[in-house]
Subunit: 110 residues, 2 copies
DNA sequence: CGAATACTGAGCCACGCGGCTAAGTATTGG
DNA sequence: CCAATACTTAGCCGCGTGGCTCAGTATTCG
């Protein structure tokens, strides 16, 4: 949970770019090579590769090279980090709602 | 839904910073003034104010000035954008899973 | 073997982000 | 009215991000 939040930044930063979200979406449909992925984005291969590395460093995708082709696939579990953050956030404000309700109950005793 | 995805970037970028996520968390407990919020972060007020503006521009918080104090509060609904994105992503890969299952079914007819 | 393919690495560059200080404005308390 | 308070604006600055080109490496195909 500690190293976890330490890397929360990496995940959100990785998601804060339309190209990288595009890659994630595409990989949701199945694995693809760097070249095939890059072909669907308006930039050069070296530029695109940086995005792949960013996603990989954030743990959102895994890549492996076979011959001269590097294949990328989604690491679905990693997105749970975002889910967890949202859940935690909701927990915080639901606690507040509970406190407010108790307050109202105390002020208007039955 | 169009202007929606146009601003997806703003939301993810806003969340890609620990200070701003900290503000969101704090505001989950209830509204607070800019000064009170800033006091809990290791930076100057002008620097902090930029984060507030970023969150406001992303629609994640609302602010209003009363007298010389600006009060901030969370706009919970806005976080649904993230939820929606996650849901859409899951839809994509569940479709793929379905396709794979159909494929297996066709290859191994009952 | 030689050419084509698919990355990969190095290095450059413009821009924007996130910090700062200093000075300005609007309210409020005494 | 004056001083303190609470922002707000303006402007500077260093660094990282995201794009590019160009050259290099490793595979594969004919």
């Amino acid at each position: 949970m500690a190293q976890y939040s330490a890397r929360l930044d990496d995940v959100f930063i990785a998601l804060a770019d339309p190209t990288r979200r595009g890659v994630i979406r595409r990989l949701g449909e199945g694995p693809a090579s760097v070249g095939d992925l890059a072909a669907t984005f308006p930039m050069t291969l070296p530029s695109f590769l940086k995005h792949v590395r960013t996603l990989e460093a954030a743990g959102l995708i895994r890549t492996a090279k076979a011959g001269r082709v590097r294949t990328c696939e989604l690491n679905r579990e990693r997105l749970a980090v975002v889910d967890d953050w949202l859940a935690e956030q909701r927990r915080v404000w639901e606690e507040r709602t509970d406190r407010l309700e108790r307050l109202v109950t105390e002020e208007n005793p039955p």
